[in-house]
Symmetry: C2
């Protein structure tokens, strides 16, 4: 009975996000070292793309800002392709205002301070040292936006230890409403895999969701977003 | 007439590498910074995989040692998947002896000296500095192998300036027979693209090949390899 009720709520007929504008970021960012080398991360884009697709299926107008992801653009979703964290920040800002923003991308915390215009030669005086500088903090910037803060701002936390503790601290520090936290230690197979096991951290506390496909996690998150936006009124 | 002769020579009926063992490396390598971040490069694996497929079509027994490439494993080719330069080196050594080795992978020159077991936290004291150390030089090691040097060792040079000059110097420095050199400046679209424009650098001099599909460059290179191995006798 409960399952049936959930399925009905999630069925494509139920346009629970109709009339809402939703922005999703997804995938990794690539930060250049020189024209051929870059710093990357293991995000495949599967979870973020699944959220964009689920929001679209629920009737939302969706903008997906995607780094170089492994997965194809979701059908019916306007997808903007970016490489670096700075590119992603600019694309996000250009697409405000939205009702809800979901920052699922694994944005590089740092970029190389002095990226080279030419390929760095191996024989040019020993191994280089890469000095990193902090990238813009997209989640915190949008969550604390003075004029265009979305009503619901959802961040992600990919951790390899103390997952929930780090996620709670991140929620406070960034000023967002929810954090979707998961353990991306290589042994979990979550990064790049099709399953996800997440914890939803909000002001109300922590929910431990059962392990499920990334598509199912996305549908569940979209249902929660619709409920939260509904409570807040149109 | 010339085209027809070339096509006949390259047709699948012509098993010009029958009885030969060929090893090909392809794709980028990924060098870990921590469990979720790594240093990568823009190699798609298209050219190396095309060479492995062409050598197989010409009747060779092919081993492909591939980093995390964007393209699928070629049919009928034993493909070994590796991540880092050190993994690739080990896989290459384990698969000697071969008649010909073609090192098309874009192997990272450096890795991070002190990769972290846990995700590096952003708030743990400012932006980190990445100290790099040199990776093993697969091409030079195999080209100068005391007991198992393949009869024909082919390296690749991906350059963004002074392409041929760098490739000539690289051939001397590494001790290999041929260098296939190309210009991978972003404006050329070669890295990740379907076309390639290469220069074949050997002891005899430099040949400038016309721009062609990576599959065509692969067939042409395989024909040249078969001729060189034939001249050297079985």
């Amino acid at each position: 009975e409960i399952l049936g009720a959930i399925e009905e709520m999630l069925s494509p007929q139920q346009q629970i996000l109709k009339g809402r504008r939703v922005l999703v970021t997804s995938g990794p960012t690539h930060e250049p070292i020189d024209p051929v080398r870059f710093i990357a991360n293991r995000s495949s884009g599967k979870q973020g793309h699944a959220i964009a697709a689920a929001a679209r299926a629920a009737g939302a107008e969706v903008v997906l800002v995607s780094g170089p992801a492994e997965v194809a653009d979701p059908q019916g979703v306007r997808t903007l392709h970016v490489e670096s964290a700075r590119d992603m920040m600019a694309a996000v800002e250009e697409n405000l205002p939205v009702d809800c923003a979901i920052f699922a991308a694994a944005v590089a915390d740092w970029r190389v301070a002095d990226a080279s215009d030419q390929k760095i030669k191996k024989d040019a005086g020993g191994a280089p040292t890469l000095h990193l500088v902090e990238n813009p903090d997209i989640l915190a910037s949008i969550a604390r936006h003075h004029t265009l803060r979305p009503r619901l701002v959802v961040g992600f936390a990919a951790e390899t230890e103390q997952v929930v503790a780090h996620a709670k601290a991140k929620r406070e520090r960034k000023g967002c409403d929810w954090i979707v936290a998961n353990d991306v230690s290589p042994a979990t197979g979550i990064m790049g895999g099709d399953l996800n096991t997440v914890h939803l951290v909000s002001a109300a506390g922590v929910e431990d969701w059962p392990s499920a496909s990334k598509a199912e996690v996305a549908r569940r998150l979209v249902a929660r977003i619709a409920a939260a936006l509904g409570e807040a009124g149109r």
